[in-house]
Amino acid sequence: MRYRAGMDKETARAPHDLGGVSKFMCDAVDTEPHALTDFDKQVDALRGILGAKQVMSVDELRRGIESIPEADYHRLSYYRRWIRSITDNLLRKGVITEAELRAALEVS
């Protein structure tokens, strides 16, 4: 699908590519400070450690986030997008298996 004159760039873009996107232009910016929760900080730290140990890069994190379906992308909080991407990447790379994860989820 080559971009043709008159074709809407907003239609051709990927869902996370938000610069200037019309449907958000009238949305208020919530400028209140929202403190990070323990969950947020742990996810952030987990990503940093996985990066430092070269298990998963920040680029791979972004790719995983960008693959989240559009509705979920906007519904999920920032760090919930991260944990979903981290899980996706660790499964894809075979660092963990689906069976292991299911078992771990049943216990928690």
Partner: protein
């Protein structure tokens, strides 16, 4: 329901348990990492700004190589992305955004604010920065000042070196740093006394 759709808190707990058992990520490492990250805050960037305002050589150094300038005042930059510094002038106001995700100069400013990561900010900052700044932050950029929006799309992380406000003659760096806020170094606000 796919595994990936599991509630995030449950995923985190399960992952941390699994990764600990595999010897990949320990709880001690996690806590240490959190403690290190918590040390970075906008106060660090504010110190750089205050020094630049009072020391022309440091200002030049900061504009030439932001990472080196940060290290020069004790901010650890090893392994961090390169830091770029955008200088505001009487003719130019800079605004930083990451429209694709949330790239932010964390090493010198700490965690990005909630609003910086929001769809509204990421969409509006590039297309209607003046309207957004006025409406959301009461920041009015005069017509005779050019506004430049810097979209952090690759390896650099950007911070703004704001203009020193009037009424601060003779102030010490500590006094100056105290009036430099997080938003001033992203470009949504300007420092004032």
């Amino acid at each position: 329901m796919s595994l990936l759709e599991t509630d995030g808190e449950r995923l985190l707990t399960a992952l941390l348990g699994l990764l600990a058992r595999k010897g990949l990520v320990s709880d001690a490492e996690l806590q240490e990492r959190i403690a290190i990250t918590d040390k970075a805050s906008p106060g660090q960037g504010a110190r750089m700004v205050a020094k630049a305002w009072t020391d022309p050589d440091y200002r030049s150094a900061m504009l030439t190589d932001g990472s080196k300038a940060a290290e020069a005042i004790g901010i650890p930059m090893r392994g961090m992305p390169p830091l770029g510094v955008l200088e505001n002038t009487p003719a130019l106001h800079n605004l930083v955004v990451c429209t694709l995700c949330s790239c932010y100069p964390r090493a010198v400013l700490g965690y990005p604010p909630f609003w910086y990561k929001s769809a509204a900010f990421r969409a509006r900052a590039v297309r209607d920065p003046r309207g957004m700044l006025a409406e959301e932050w009461k920041t009015v950029i005069p017509d005779d000042v050019a506004l430049r929006v810097v979209d952090s799309t690759a390896d650099y992380r950007w911070m703004v070196l704001p203009l020193r406000p009037a009424g601060t003659d003779g102030w010490t760096p500590d006094q100056l740093a105290a009036i430099v806020r997080e938003g001033d170094m992203i470009g949504v606000t300007v420092p004032h006394v």
